[in-house]
Amino acid sequence: MAVVFTMAAMFALTTLVANTYRAQRRARAEAHFAKGNVLLRESENHKAVSEFREALAYSHDSFQYRLALALALIKVGDLGEAQAHLSELQESDPTSGIVNLKLAQLAARRGDFQQAVTYYHRAIYGQWTSQPEQNRIQARFDLIAFLVGRKAKKEAIGELLQMAGEVPDDPPLKDRIGNMLLEYGAPANAADIFQDVLSEHVDAGAYFGLGQANFAQADYTAAQHAFRRALHMQPDNQEIRQRLALTDQIVALDPTVARLSSAERYDRSRQLVSKALAALERCAGAEGEVLPDTFSSLMAEARKASPRRREGETPHLISLAEQLWQARAKLCASPPQKDEPLAFVLAKIAKQTP
């Protein structure tokens, strides 16, 4: 009996002592953690690391303290230790968005492509304690930037399309996605995004983006229409104005535009020939080249193009213009000007020609 009573008494004493001990540990851990956060705000990152380390020493199983330490270690550049702590956090909570994001960033830094992509996906679909939507979106943008940096444009486009399907109704965000798709060479997908935005909202950015997407797909008429709508909503926007001006020139020059009369089509094709000839002559003059005979015969034929309308000759003139332009490309070392309407028209025609 005495033994049992003694055991009970020892249990009571140990409980009291252990409770005091735990309370002290908790208080010390919290104090160090709070101090660490203050030091972080003051950009005293190394001291903050020490404080977070102390906090963790008092509370080994605290997710919050370990995460704070890991993030502070990343700030001071101690990536090895940060990796170790983050790996441990990931094991204890595999769905944590922030942990997976940081692991992804570390993997990206050391060039581990597969690991980085895996962790990014876990971050995107993981749990975020605050602002989950924004964090997921930002994580995805991080991933896209990483993929583009590693020349994985197809994968980046895939991620953008995935994101477009998942994000809430947010026109600026969708505009951003559309512009990124444009930038990475997916104008058709970009156009769909912008159309989707415009179906619900009137948005100058979306019109402009749509115009750009149509422009990239050589649909200059549709691009002109979109740019006009954008300019109407933002008349002071010089970029839109310039883009529209270029599109207008292209459309005015393009003999393949729909609903043109045959006379107009002939005039435009003759204009195409004369511009292509001028470009070739300029190039030959500039280079001081003696033209090969084939070029000379082409040019002679171009000069013979009659101002009188011979509407059956439109396709021939268009073909002649193309040949002159190709001759120019072979002859000239310098490329044509960036916003040369002639170049756009002839490129469009070349794509359409089987």
Partner: protein
Amino acid sequence: MTDAGTQLKRSYATWLDWLTISETQRFLILSIFIGIFAGLMVVCFHIAIEFISWYSLGSFTGRYNLVRLIAPAAGGLVAAFLVLRVFRAAQGSGVNQTKAALYIYDGHVPFSTVLGKFLACSTAIGSGNSLGPEDPALQMGAGVASLLGRIFHLPRENMRLIAPVGAAAGIAAAFNTPITGVLFVMEEVVAGWSAAVVGSIVLAAVSAVVVVRWFLGNEPLFRVPHLENVSPSDLIVYAAIGIAGGLLSALFIHLVERLHERVEHLPSWTKYARPVAAGLVVGIVGLWFPEVMGAGYGTIDNALHNRFLWDTLLALGLLKMMVTLFCFSAGTPGGMFAPTLFTGAMVGGGLGALALRYWPFPGGSTGAYVLVGMGTFFAGVFRAPMTSIFMVFEVSASYVIILPVMIANTVAYFISRSLHPVPFFTMLARQEGVDLPSAEERRTTAILRVEDAMRSPETVPSGGTTVADALAYLQKLGQEWFLVSREYKGWSYIRLPELEAAVQAGKQEQTLRNVFPLPLAPRIYPDLALDTALRLLGSCPILPVTNRAHPDQLVGSLTLEDVHKAYGIAPGPISPEPVGADSEIIPASGAREAYTGDGEFRES
């Protein structure tokens, strides 16, 4: 006493009688109580160390904290006073003292040892001296067990076994690792696997760990980060870590031996000054490397998380070894477990981190090398290979690392053993004038078996053979005792003079089974220890040796004479040698004496 009280007492006695539990069962139940008490003790011990550390050392942030310089020395002085003046039985690490209780003092560990160990070691370790809490916890557990054994008036045989039960509870609670606690006590304290005590040891260890986890949580001793699978080329690095661990551990044992010897020859008044001097050394080193102070588990945890570079890791390992050497040799009370884990972890981590830089093949993480290194120094110093392997496995909860741990620890064990054959605790015990057994010695001592002593099988007569024929055949063999095969399996035995007497009595034409009783002789097997066979020879002068797979097949026979030959004992009576002045005399154990660890025996 009132009628109600008498009634209650009678009911209680009846209830106990009704339970009718055997002595073995009582011992097992007592083991659980021991585990609970030991667990409570260790919880309080752990908390005491932490509190002292908080208020004497504070945090380790920032260097050049002058408190760190004097705290270990002050703590060492207080601890020295406690063990030299007040609790003299609390000196030493605790392991040898527990073994002495088992082998010399019938399991007696005075309770004052428990109090002394608690106060002195918590002060010494909490103030920053480079020692560990596990060995003291082991002895405190043994002390608690011994006290309970005396309270419950255990018989002598059980009292002897109670100390290791408490020791296992103490060390399992201190490490929060039940398997390690059991294994270490079986390997080092009991020095062998004894079926009589293993169940109690396990129960006590488990109970103690349950109590510790109840109060302090389920957290493992270390938070081990995720470990990748080990590649074959990595095993070479782990083997190299084992080699380093083995070499360093042998050096460490050698240095402890030398320094201990020198220190023991210093004047007695220096007994107070030595822990102070050692504490000052720790304090000076601690100004630049506070990580070497105290047990060091926090630093090991940091090393597991890649906090340190390879040069820092190596420096910490070597410095820890040095300060531990000073603290332990100076007589500061405390244990060696934690410092050996620390040293091994740092050296292993340092070498591993170095390999990660220059090894051409892809390697593991620094954390993995730290973890594996932890066990190597331990295995080399304490020569407890199974304990070291399971300990790393238990604290890491990772099976991925088991193969490197086995390789590294085994390499360290064999290298240390070949360079310094005497194990650490045995060396200490001998320096203190006591010869205690160790599992290491038992491993290296060859065991004689029946096959080493038996003689080849001869053709044995059956029970149907006549006395005359049997005598004619057996006289040629020239031995006194013979086997006879019985009709219904097995063998019996007969003596030559009895055959001769039967012939003289005119029974030569009768069969052996008609003339002699032919009792059944117990069978033995070639792989049995000769010690086991010797016990059977007490009741049967010649034993048949049979094959385990074919028990009816006789493969030899064994007599006392054969056993004597195997042990190298010449035939004839043994004359005792007179006891000279140089003989070792171990004082007769009394329940009132205690081994203090300094070669003296004092009343408890």
